[in-house]
Symmetry: C2
Subunit: 421 residues, 2 copies
């Protein structure tokens, strides 16, 4: 049984994690929030206090921490007595925070793969470039490190594992579909840091097809999907973390990730990219001011957190899984629908942050309860999915399942609550 | 008879004017080029020398001049002995350069209306805000000041006057249509300074309809025109200088200006404008760099002069004039077709600069010859059009005319060279 949580990061996802940990502090114990900017951590603490989110009286503290400083991170883990570290800071911090956990024996959770700021879309499988190099060390030190425990990666990996175990004798393909059918009411905005957002789409797209890595350009391969409640939605083949673990661990021949983009998003992105305004290389104006164009674009775009109060509509994220069961071809779609407004009412963040943060808090609870405290580096698809999905259902992210194929409308009518009733 | 020319400005249009004056220095005498940046004037001189453009041996000199400095401008006019000043510098300089001409008795020519840097799209008629306030003074001092002697305004004003005199008993409408059907081969570029280019389209659009000023938004009113050679082209009601003189001087009930824009230009413009990237107000990046977004956009866009060597295709600019002749309704379209590649071969600039610069040099020759040395402030539509159009035909901008109406293809076949044969 591990207790006491250190949350690293102070953005929208960290805010959600802090609220959800507070709502479950009878299980998790003390809660600490640490990031480079103390004020942002204090704002999260204040938000939790304002919502009176703490389930029982307990410790909730903000800390200033440069998480690239290994010694400082180790010291904070030891000083706070945290046995679980939830890393929802920048994607550039993972290896440093993981090292601190290995050194102190604390469990490690993150929601996104490690990135080198100077590289994009490296050689697949991505996890082999950084995380898996530490796998043996975790095993020897019996350190639990759950990689990619947000929604995607995270919950979608659990969906894949559930289908693999319960619904199929043979799985042929996993298509993860991520649709934000919400509306923020602005001309254009990104749902998280524009710099990180655009960075995801400027390189090549890796997918796993016929047991091989295939490279495409962004927005090169698009498909319209007919989904429950949100209806017909166009999504594009996109590179994403979970493709790089599911393909290797579940040995499925096809794993693809599809992200929904409206024509308007693609148009704005294309104009900015082609003009050179998404470049990370500094330019000089005629007046001699040196500036990175992408940072100017970031400065004129709305602050993503400012979108939350008026965000309406749903996200729909799920796995469309095809294969064979009892000799017959079949398919299931396992998914979640999250409502931006409900997310804001629950924790003060919009749905994109909510779907990423709630699962990380759930994973922490499963470590605290022992279910997932496996003493090694692991991906969500290697862990028992049911305790996770049952917990998420209670914490605000219920799973649904649609079985069958082809006749979508009929199937929609048969959609039912999974797991809990 | 006036002689010796001082060209103020050192951009693409100034380069064309310098080449054309050099090609006619037997009439014009000494040629001087002055702007704030001496190096740019020297580059123009070098370009003229490289093309051996001087018709006869003669003086060709570069000068540094801040043309907002009245005394310095007067002194340079006197020192060079220039009796004709061609102002093709920034639109913010007109009133200062005109003052220097009035003081020294030199003739004044410009190609675009005066602008206040802090204002856009002021109260119509625009000329009444600045230029016409000096009209009486020019008359008293017998100073020739020809306003708007580029292509549009300029040649299109002469076309209107020609139609008014020769083709109609009554003119009902003048629609000036400006199409650049050329191709620069870049994703996006403006044909002149992006800052000035975008500035033209961010305010309201004034047109003269039914003898009244009408205000529209940019890109609000569009129409497809079927034009000789360049074919069907979409153009939008746009504010432009000549509407503000033709409507008042020729007393025509309808004067409108239409500028051609492809959907691609409009899309890029709309994205940039809506994101706030065309703003002239400084913003601050997350790193604390203060910068004007429009100047960053300018810095990432191609330098307009860099487009010239590979620019292909034609511009088509003309007046579609409707009215009554001998009791019958009729229409004529008087126009020029300019070839970007031919312009580059002639003077090293692209067609947009060429069509603006050649007429200004022609106007200088008409002053030198006496035809247009009228000793007062005047617009091109107040001057005899034939000597101007005949000279332009010889200098690289031949005029054509299409008479009749409705059956465009038949009419295209009947198009013929105007005036010269």
């Amino acid at each position: 049984m591990k207790k006491h949580v250190l949350i690293i990061g102070a953005g929208g996802v960290a805010n959600v994690v802090a609220h959800k940990c507070a709502q479950n502090n009878d299980v998790l114990g003390d809660i600490h929030v640490a990031s480079r900017t103390l004020g942002k951590c204090e704002a999260i603490v204040a938000s939790v206090v304002r919502k009176t989110a703490l389930k029982t009286a307990g410790k909730l503290q903000a800390h200033a921490l440069d998480a690239t400083d290994l010694e400082a991170t180790k010291a904070l883990i030891e000083r706070t007595g945290a046995r679980i570290v939830i890393n929802v800071g920048s994607a550039f911090l993972n290896m440093s925070v993981l090292s601190a956990c290995i050194a102190t024996g604390a469990a490690y959770i993150d929601t996104a793969i490690h990135e080198d700021p100077l590289k994009i879309c490296e050689t697949p499988p991505w996890y082999a470039n950084y995380e898996w190099k530490r796998r043996e060390e975790c095993r020897q030190r019996k350190v639990t490190a759950i990689l990619g425990a947000g929604f995607d990666p995270g919950v979608v990996n659990a969906y894949a594992r559930l289908a693999f175990d319960e619904y199929f004798d043979r799985v042929d393909s996993i298509d993860i579909i991520d649709i934000n059918a919400g509306c923020h009411g602005r001309y254009f905005a990104t749902n998280f840091d524009p710099e990180i957002n655009f960075r995801e789409f400027t390189g090549q797209v890796w997918s796993w097809q016929d047991r091989r890595w295939v490279s495409n350009k962004m927005f090169e391969v698009g498909r319209e999907w007919d989904l429950p409640v949100v209806g017909r939605q166009k999504a594009y083949l996109t590179g994403h973390d979970e493709v790089h673990s599911l393909s290797q661990i579940l040995k499925v021949p096809n794993v693809r990730f599809w992200m929904g983009f409206g024509d308007h998003y693609i148009n704005v992105f294309t104009v900015l990219k082609n003009l050179g305004l998404l470049s990370e290389q500094p330019i000089k104006t005629a007046e001699g001011v040196e500036v990175v164009p992408l940072k100017v674009v970031k400065a004129v775009l709305p602050d993503p957190s400012s979108l939350a109060p008026s965000y309406t509509g749903l996200t729909c994220i799920g796995d469309l899984i095809k294969g064979v069961k009892d000799g017959r071809e079949c398919e299931v779609f396992i998914y979640n629908l999250a409502d931006h407004r409900e997310a804001f009412e629950d924790v003060g963040s919009q749905g994109i942050s909510y779907t990423a943060g709630v699962p990380a808090a759930a994973a922490a609870m499963l470590i605290a309860r022992g279910d997932w405290d496996v003493g090694e580096m692991t991906h969500v698809e290697e862990l028992p999915p049911l305790p996770f999905l049952q917990l998420l259902d209670r914490m605000g992210l219920p799973s649904r399942i649609r079985q069958g194929k082809i006749d979508q409308e009929l199937l929609d009518a048969r959609s039912e609550r999974l797991l809990t009733e």
